[in-house]
C-alpha cells in the first residue's frame, strides 16, 4: 500500500527550528532547515542523524525546500549542507535566496564573534551552501526529477515567503511554511488554489487566537508609541531586520507624516538600508497597492527613519528605535534594552512571537527581574507591551486556508501542543478530515490510494462515449478492454487491438445446439415461424430471415432441419460464438419452450 510519511525533526508541537521530513511515493523531501532561538547548544539545530546515521544525506533526500528567510526556517542550512554534508538541490524563492545568506551571516557573527562559539559554520560555508540553491518562481512547476515536482504559492508572511506543493503522480502534499491570510501594508495575502492535496502541513502559531481587526491593533500601537514619545520616553521595538520591520516602518512613517511628529525614528544596524533595497528590487512580491504606486513613490524610501548610531542610545529626549534581533536574545536590541530597562518612562514593544528561553519571552511572561550574564540582575521598570504584528495566520486564517486547499488530511506544526489540540478538534469537526500533530521525531503515516493513469485508445473511448455520456444508474454500462502493461507504459485498448498488437490470433469458440421442435410442417415453414416468433419477442434486436432459409438474430445463426428419424420433429441448429454467449444461451432456452401456435 502506498503511503505518505511525515516526521518533524523540528517544529513538531513547538515553534523553532522548523524541519519536516516527508516521504511521498518513494521520494524524500526535507521541508525547511531552521534553528531554534531558545537554545544555544546542540538542540538549536534539528537532529539530522535521524535521516541517516551512516550514509550521505544526499543519497537519502531528493531535495530540500526552504519556505522563507526567517532563521527558524533556514538557520541550520549551512550546518546541514556543509558540515553534515548535503549536495542535492535546495529550493527557495528568489527573495529568500537573496536575503537568507545575509541573515545567516548576521547569525554567524553573533554566535562566533560575540559569543565566541567554536565549531560554527563559517562565512565560506554560507557561500558554498547558497551555491546549491535553485530559485523557484511563484506558480512555476519545478521538475526535481522525472516524477517529483514542486510548485510555490504566495504566502505573504515575509518578502518572498512561499507555500510549497510537493507532487508525485497524483499524490501531493502542501507545506505552508509561515503564512498570513490578511494583506498588510506591504505584503499581500496568502493564496492557494483548490489543489486537494492528500496532506496539508500547516503552521499553527496562532492556533487559538482570533485577532482583532488589524486597524485596531495599529491604532493601539501608534497610540502607545505616541504617548511614550509625548512624555519624553524612549520606545524600543525589537524586530528582525526584514519583515515586520518594514511593515512597522511604513506604519510609523505615515503616522509621523500625518501628525507631524518631530521625535527621531532610528533603525539599528547597517542591514536596514540594504534591507530596504531588497524591498525596492522585489516590488512584485509586495502587495497590490505598493506595486501600483511604486513608480511615483517607492514605499521603502523613508523620510523620517534614519540610521541608528550606538551613541544615540544615551542621548536625552524621546526617540523610537527599531533594533535587531526581534526576541531580545542577543545583539543590539538586547544592548539597548539593558540601557533603557530601568526607566519607567520608556517602553519596549514586542511586535512578534518570542520563543521560550529568550529575554523577550521572559519579559512577556511577566518576569521583571532578569538574570543576565555574570550574575547581574536586571530590573525591568520600563513598560512592556506585546502587540501581535507577526504576519501569521490566526485560527480563522488557518481554517480559511484549509477550506481553500481542500486537503484530505491536515497536519499541524509550528505551534504549541495545547493550542494545536484545540485547532485539531476544530478542523476535524468542520472539515471532517483527519488532523495530526506529531511531536518531534514522531512519524505520521498516511496510506494513500492513488489512481493509476493509463492511456485509453481513442477508438475505445469513443465507442463507449458514443453510447451516451451519462451513466445510467440502474443499468451501468460496462467498458471492456485490455490493459497492456509494457515497462511503465500502460495502455487500455480494445481487445481486438490488443490481440493485433501482440500478434496473437483470436481463438474462436463456437457453440452449435440442436433444439428439437415438434413441428410437422416443412423445414422452410418452421423457419418462417421461428422468424416471426423471434421477431415479435426480440424487438430491440436485428432479426432477419435470409434467402437460404436460415434465420439470424444479430450474428446468431438458426437453421431448421428435418429430423433423421422423426418426421414430426424438426431440429433447429442454433449456432453462436462465445461473444454472443448470453444471447445464444437465451435463444436456445426460448426456442426450447416451443413456438406459439400459428394463429
Amino acid at each position: 500500500m502506498p503511503e505518505i510519511r511525515v516526521t518533524p525533526l523540528g517544529a513538531g508541537q513547538d515553534v523553532g527550528r522548523s524541519c519536516i521530513l516527508v516521504s511521498i511515493a518513494g521520494k524524500n523531501v526535507m521541508l525547511d532547515c531552521g534553528m531554534h532561538m531558545g537554545f544555544s547548544d546542540d538542540r538549536r539545530f534539528p537532529d539530522f542523524s535521524y535521516i541517516t546515521r551512516s550514509g550521505r544525506l544526499t543519497d537519502f533526500l531528493d531535495c530540500v525546500i526552504i519556505s522563507h528567510f526567517h532563521l527558524d526556517h533556514c538557520g541550520a542550512l549551512p550546518y546541514f549542507s556543509e558540515m553534515v554534508g548535503y549536495d542535492g538541490p535546495i529550493y527557495m524563492t528568489q527573495p529568500t535566496q537573496a536575503i537568507c545568506p545575509i541573515l545567516l551571516e548576521d547569525y554567524r557573527k553573533i554566535a562566533v564573534d560575540k559569543k565566541g562559539e567554536a565549531r560554527f559554520f563559517t562565512s565560506q560555508m554560507i557561500k558554498d551552501c547558497m551555491k546549491k540553491v535553485v530559485a523557484v518562481h511563484l506558480h512555476q512547476t519545478v521538475q526535481v526529477d522525472d516524477e517529483l515536482e514542486i510548485k510555490a504559492y504566495y504566502a505573504g508572511h515575509v518578502l518572498g515567503a512561499a507555500m510549497f506543493q510537493i507532487k508525485v503522480g497524483s499524490e501531493s502534499v502542501v507545506y505552508t511554511g509561515d503564512y498570513n491570510m490578511t494583506p498588510d501594508r506591504h505584503l499581500g495575502a496568502a493564496w492557494i488554489d483548490k489543489c486537494r492535496p492528500n496532506l496539508l502541513i500547516t503552521e499553527s502559531t496562532y492556533a487559538t487566537t482570533i485577532r482583532d481587526s488589524k486597524r485596531c491593533r495599529e491604532r493601539d500601537f501608534l497610540k502607545k508609541v505616541h504617548e511614550t514619545v509625548e512624555r519624553g520616553g524612549k520606545v524600543l521595538i525589537p524586530v528582525f531586520a526584514l519583515g515586520r520591520a518594514q511593515e512597522l516602518c511604513i506604519l510609523l512613517e505615515t503616522f509621523w507624516e500625518r501628525v507631524g511628529l518631530k521625535a527621531p525614528i532610528y533603525f539599528s544596524t547597517g542591514l536596514t538600508e540594504k534591507a530596504n533595497h531588497y524591498y525596492k528590487l522585489f516590488i512584485p512580491w509586495t502587495n497590490q497597492k505598493i506595486r501600483k504606486t511604486f513608480v511615483q513613490r517607492n514605499m521603502f524610501e523613508f523620510k523620517h527613519i534614519k540610521a541608528f548610531d550606538r551613541a544615540f542610545a544615551d542621548s536625552p529626549g524621546p526617540m523610537v528605535v527599531f533594533a535587531t534581533p526581534g526576541m531580545l536574545h542577543a545583539g543590539q536590541s538586547l544592548q539597548i534594552f539593558r540601557k533603557w530597562a530601568g526607566n519607567e518612562k520608556n517602553m519596549v514593544i514586542m511586535p512578534g512571537y518570542c520563543v521560550q528561553g529568550t529575554v523577550g519571552h521572559k519579559i512577556l511572561s511577566g518576569q521583571r527581574k532578569l538574570e543576565m550574564e555574570g550574575r547581574q540582575v536586571l530590573e525591568v521598570k520600563m513598560q512592556v507591551e506585546y502587540m501581535s504584528f507577526s504576519a501569521h495566520a490566526d485560527a480563522k486564517g488557518i481554517m480559511q486556508l484549509v477550506g481553500q486547499a481542500e486537503p484530505e488530511n491536515v497536519l499541524l506544526v509550528h505551534g504549541e501542543a495545547k493550542k494545536m489540540e484545540f485547532l485539531k478538534q476544530k478542523i476535524e469537526q468542520e472539515f471532517r478530515v483527519s488532523c495530526y500533530m506529531p511531536a518531534n521525531g514522531e512519524t505520521v503515516t498516511l496510506p494513500t490510494s492513488p489512481s493509476i493513469p493509463v492511456g485509453i485508445s481513442l477508438g475505445l473511448l469513443k465507442r463507449e462515449m458514443a453510447q451516451g455520456l451519462l451513466p445510467d444508474a440502474k443499468k451501468p454500462r460496462l467498458l471492456h478492454g485490455t490493459l497492456i502493461m509494457k515497462d511503465s507504459n500502460f495502455r487500455l485498448v480494445s481487445s481486438e487491438q490488443a490481440l493485433k498488437e501482440l500478434g496473437l490470433a483470436e481463438h474462436q469458440l463456437r457453440f452449435t445446439c440442436r433444439v428439437h421442435l415438434h413441428d410437422t410442417r416443412k423445414e422452410q415453414e418452421t423457419a418462417v415461424r421461428v422468424y416471426s416468433h423471434l421477431k415479435s419477442v426480440l424487438k430491440d434486436h436485428c432479426v432477419q430471415h435470409l434467402p437460404d432459409g436460415s434465420v439470424t438474430v444479430e450474428s446468431i445463426l438458426i437453421q431448421a432441419a428435418a429430423h433423421s428419424e422423426d418426421p414430426g420433429t424438426k431440429v433447429l441448429l442454433v449456432s453462436w460464438t462465445y461473444q454472443d454467449e448470453e444471447l445464444g444461451s437465451y435463444l436456445t432456452s426460448l426456442l426450447k419452450k416451443g413456438l406459439p401456435q400459428a394463429s
Binding site: 528568489q94 535566496q97 518562481h137 506558480h139 512547476t141 540594504k274 531588497y278 528590487l281 522585489f282 512584485p284 513608480v295 490510494s449 489512481s451 493509476i452 493513469p453 493509463v454 492511456g455 485509453i456 485508445s457 481513442l458 473511448l461 469513443k462 462515449m465 453510447q467 455520456l469 443499468k475 451501468p476 460496462l478 467498458l479 485490455t482 490493459l483 497492456i484 502493461m485 487500455l492 481487445s495 481486438e496 501482440l502 496473437l504 490470433a505 483470436e506 481463438h507 474462436q508 469458440l509 463456437r510 457453440f511 452449435t512 445446439c513 440442436r514 419477442v537 424487438k539 430491440d540 444479430e554 462465445y578 461473444q579 454472443d580 454467449e581 448470453e582 436456445t588 432456452s589 426450447k592
Partner: protein, 702 residues
C-alpha cells in the same frame, strides 16, 4: 502532393468535425490579415493578395474542443499611409498641397496630401486589425500572449467581439504592454485631429489612387486607436502566469509558458494534452541580452512546432548593428550634431543604454546629455529594475548585492540620462544641444519624434538612427522629404535567424513544423539566398492569412484514470517477457473532460421473484461484450481434463486441421483446431456450460 490531402479545409468543415466531444485532429485557423505597407516588395497574386505579418501573429488553435488564440498582434504599418501628427503646429505639414487625380479632379484634396511624390492620408492614423470575420471570436476560450509587442490588438479583440474568455500573460508582458498601449493612446489623443478621412476608402475611389494606397488591403476595417478605458478593461481580463506554470484549460488541455529569451517576460507556449504536444514559438532569441535565456529543452518531443516571429532582418547581425549605432552616434555628436533615435519605450532601448553606459566615457561623450522622452519613460525605467526574476543570470545576481540590475539607474543618478514625459514642461528648460534623444514612435507618424524630425531634419549635422526593425525606414521618412539630416539604418532584431532556427529544430526535433509562408521561401528581394528560409524535414507546412489548416497528427490516446479499487481487482498475466495484460471491465465516468474507470457494481441480488418479470427483462443486452479469446487447446490435456471431470467414453479423431473429440454418450462433438473450437451438442444447457468452462480454462481472455 501533400501527405495530408485535407490540408486546406474551409472552416465550416472544421467546425463540423469539432462537434464531437473528442475530435480526432486539431485544426488551426490563421487569422491575421496581411500587413501591407511594410512589405511592398512581396508578390501580389491570388485571392489574398498579401501575406500575414509573421512577427505580429494572431492565430487561433482548436485543440480538443478548446479554442485558443495565440497572440494578438496589431499591424501598425498601416499608419505609414498617414501624415505625421505634429506636437507643435508645423507650417510645412499644414501647407502640403492636396492631391488631385490625373484629370485634375481635386475632390480628394481635403483627405489626401502630397509630399515629395508620395500621397498621404490627412487624418487620424488607423491600424490594420486582425481578421475578425473568419471565426466567431466570441468562441475563443483563451488568449495566450507571447510578448508585449504581440498584444497590442488586445483591446480590439476583448472589447468588441463578444470575447468572454481569459487572457494569459506574464507580469512583465502585461506591465510593459500596458506602457506601450498607454504611450500609443497618449501620442494619438494629445494631438486631437478634427478630420477623419473616409472618402478615399471607397473601393471605387481607392482604385484610382497611387500606390501604395491603391493596394492597401481591407481599408474599410482599419480602426482608430483604442481609448485608455478600453485598454484598462482589456488588461483586466489578463491572468498573470509564470514560466513553467502549468495551466489547465477545462481539464482537457494544459498550457505552459516558457522563457523565449527575446524580451522581459517573453514566452513561448506549450499546448498539450497527455498524448499530443503543440509548441508555439513566437519571438525567441538565443542572443544574450537582458532577458532570461530561451528554454529550448522543454520544446522537445513536440508533434507540431508552430514557428513565428523570426528576425525581420535576417542579414543583419545585431552585435554589428549595435557597434555601428555607437560609432555613428559618437561621430555625429563630436561634429556638434544631434542624434535622434526613434524607439519603443522598452526593449532594445535597455540594451542600447547599457552599451552607451560602457561606451560614453571611452568615447569622450560624458558631457553629452541623453534624453529619453516618453509619457512612460519613467515607468519603463523603473519597471525594468524590479523584474529581476525575468532577467538573465548576470542581472539576476545583481539584486543579491542588492543593486539595480540595469546600469541605467546609474546613468540617471549621475544625470547623464534624463527622462521626461514629453517635450513640453521641464524638458524645454533642460534641453541642451548637441544631445541624443530617444523617443517614439518608430513609425515617425506620432509622438515626440515628429517634433525632432521637423526640428533637426534641415541640418546635415544631425543624424536619425533607426534601430527598431518594425517599419521600413524609407517609408517612415517619406513625409519628411526632402531631408538634409543623415539617416542611418541599424536595425537591431535579436529574434532567431535562419541559422539559429535550423539549429533549434535539430535540437528539439518536432515531428512537424508549421510557419508563415514567408519563411518557406527566400525573401523576394534576395531570391538567390536559399539560406534565408526554413529548411527542415519533413518540409514545413506553411500558412497565410485568413487560411485554415489541419495540423498533421491524429490523436490516438486519451488519459484515463483507473481507480485504485479497480486496479486491485485486475489480474495481470505475462504474455511476453516485460509485457503483461489484464482484461478490464469497468464503468466509465466522464466529468470535466476527465475520464475515470470505476469497478463495475456488484450484480444486483434478485429481489426474490415477487414481481412477475416481463419477458423483455430477460433478453440479454447484446452490447455487453464478452472478452475475446486467444491461445490453443492441447488435445491430450483437454481429454485428461474431461476425464477428470467425469466424462467417459471419449473418442478422439484426427482431422486435416486438428482433432475431433467425441463424447459419444452425450452425442456431443468438439472440433478443436489451431484457432477455433466448436462445440456441437444437444440442447443440454448444463452440459454445454460445463464444456464451455473447461474449454475456457485453456484460453486467454482479452
Amino acid at each position: 502532393m501533400s501527405r495530408y490531402p485535407d490540408l486546406c479545409l474551409n472552416l465550416k468543415e472544421c467546425v463540423c468535425q469539432e462537434m464531437g466531444t473528442i475530435d480526432p485532429s486539431i485544426f488551426w485557423a490563421l487569422l491575421f490579415k496581411g500587413g501591407f505597407y511594410g512589405m511592398k516588395k512581396r508578390e501580389v497574386g491570388g485571392k489574398y493578395c498579401l501575406s500575414g505579418h509573421p512577427t505580429l501573429p494572431c492565430n487561433v488553435l482548436k485543440f480538443k474542443s478548446t479554442t485558443i488564440m495565440l497572440d494578438c498582434g496589431l499591424d501598425m504599418t498601416s499608419t505609414l499611409n498617414f501624415l505625421p501628427l505634429p506636437l507643435v503646429q508645423s507650417p510645412r505639414l499644414s501647407n502640403l498641397p492636396g492631391w488631385s487625380l490625373k484629370d485634375g479632379n481635386a475632390f480628394l484634396d481635403k483627405e489626401l496630401k502630397e509630399c515629395s511624390g508620395h500621397v498621404f492620408v490627412d487624418s487620424v492614423p488607423e491600424f490594420c486589425l486582425p481578421e475578425t470575420e473568419l471565426i466567431d471570436l466570441s468562441t475563443v476560450d483563451v488568449i495566450l500572449i507571447s510578448n508585449y509587442h504581440c498584444m497590442m490588438a488586445l483591446p480590439y479583440i476583448t472589447e468588441h467581439t463578444g470575447f468572454t474568455g481569459t487572457v494569459y500573460a506574464t507580469e512583465p508582458s502585461v506591465q510593459i504592454g500596458r506602457l506601450l498601449m498607454e504611450e500609443l493612446v497618449n501620442f494619438i489623443e494629445r494631438v486631437p485631429k478634427a478630420q477623419s478621412a473616409s472618402l478615399w476608402k471607397n473601393k471605387d475611389i481607392q482604385r484610382l489612387l497611387p500606390s501604395p494606397l491603391k493596394d492597401a488591403v481591407e481599408v474599410s476595417t482599419w480602426r482608430r486607436c483604442y481609448t485608455m478605458q478600453e485598454v484598462n478593461s482589456a488588461l483586466s481580463k489578463i491572468q498573470l502566469v509564470g514560466y513553467s506554470q502549468k495551466i489547465e484549460l477545462f481539464g482537457a488541455v494544459q498550457v505552459t509558458p516558457l522563457s523565449s529569451g527575446y524580451a522581459l517576460g517573453s514566452s513561448n507556449w506549450i499546448i498539450q494534452s497527455h498524448y499530443e504536444k503543440v509548441s508555439y514559438v513566437s519571438g525567441s532569441s538565443l542572443l544574450t541580452t537582458h532577458p532570461q535565456p530561451m528554454d529550448q529543452a522543454s520544446l522537445k518531443n513536440s508533434d507540431v512546432l508552430i514557428l513565428t516571429g523570426l528576425t525581420q532582418i535576417p542579414t543583419a547581425n545585431p552585435d554589428g548593428m549595435v557597434g555601428e549605432f555607437c560609432s555613428n552616434l559618437a561621430l555625429t555628436v563630436r561634429n556638434g550634431g544631434n542624434v535622434l533615435v526613434p524607439c519603443y519605450p522598452s526593449g532594445v532601448i535597455y540594451d542600447l543604454l547599457e552599451c552607451l553606459y560602457q561606451y560614453i566615457d571611452s568615447a569622450g561623450l560624458s558631457s553629452i546629455p541623453f534624453y529619453f522622452i516618453s509619457p512612460v519613460a519613467n515607468s519603463s525605467l523603473e519597471f525594468s529594475q524590479i523584474f529581476a526574476e525575468w532577467l538573465c543570470h548576470n542581472k539576476q545576481t545583481k539584486v543579491y548585492l542588492p543593486e539595480p540590475p540595469f546600469p541605467h539607474a546609474e546613468l540617471i543618478q549621475t544625470n547623464k540620462l534624463k527622462h521626461y514625459p514629453s517635450i513640453h514642461g521641464d524638458f524645454s528648460n533642460d534641453f541642451r544641444q548637441p544631445c541624443v534623444v530617444f523617443t517614439g514612435h518608430p513609425s515617425l507618424r506620432f509622438g515626440d519624434v515628429v517634433h525632432f524630425m521637423e526640428l533637426w531634419g534641415k541640418s546635415s549635422l544631425n543624424t536619425v538612427i533607426f534601430t527598431e526593425p518594425d517599419f521600413s525606414y524609407l517609408e517612415a521618412l517619406a513625409p519628411y522629404q526632402p531631408l538634409a539630416m543623415k539617416c542611418i539604418y541599424c536595425p537591431i532584431d535579436t529574434r532567431l535567424n535562419f541559422i539559429q532556427v535550423s539549429k533549434l529544430l535539430k535540437e528539439v526535433q518536432p515531428l512537424h513544423v508549421v510557419c508563415p509562408e514567408q519563411y518557406t521561401q527566400p525573401p523576394p528581394a534576395q531570391s538567390h539566398r536559399m539560406d534565408l528560409m526554413i529548411d527542415c524535414q519533413p518540409p514545413a507546412m506553411s500558412y497565410r492569412r485568413a487560411e485554415v489548416l489541419a495540423l498533421p497528427f491524429k490523436r490516438r490516446y486519451e488519459k484515463i484514470e483507473i481507480m485504485p479499487e479497480l486496479a486491485d481487482s485486475l489480474v495481470p498475466m505475462e504474455i511476453k517477457p516485460g509485457v503483461s495484460l489484464a482484461t478490464v471491465s469497468a464503468v466509465l465516468h466522464t466529468k470535466d473532460n476527465k475520464h475515470i474507470l470505476q469497478p463495475p457494481p456488484r450484480p444486483a441480488q434478485p429481489t426474490g421473484g415477487k414481481k412477475r418479470k416481463r419477458a423483455s427483462d430477460d433478453i440479454p443486452d447484446c452490447k455487453v461484450l464478452k472478452p475475446l479469446l486467444s491461445g490453443s487447446i492441447p488435445v491430450e490435456q483437454f481429454v485428461q481434463t474431461l476425464e477428470k471431470h467425469g466424462f467417459s467414453d471419449i473418442k478422439v479423431e484426427d482431422t486435416a486441421k486438428g482433432h475431433i473429440v467425441l463424447l459419444q454418450e452425450a452425442e456431443t462433438l468438439i472440433q478443436i483446431e489451431e484457432d477455433s473450437t466448436h462445440i456441437i451438442c444437444d440442447n443440454d444447457e448444463l452440459l454445454r456450460v460445463r464444456l464451455r468452462d473447461l474449454v475456457l480454462k485453456f484460453l486467454q481472455k482479452f
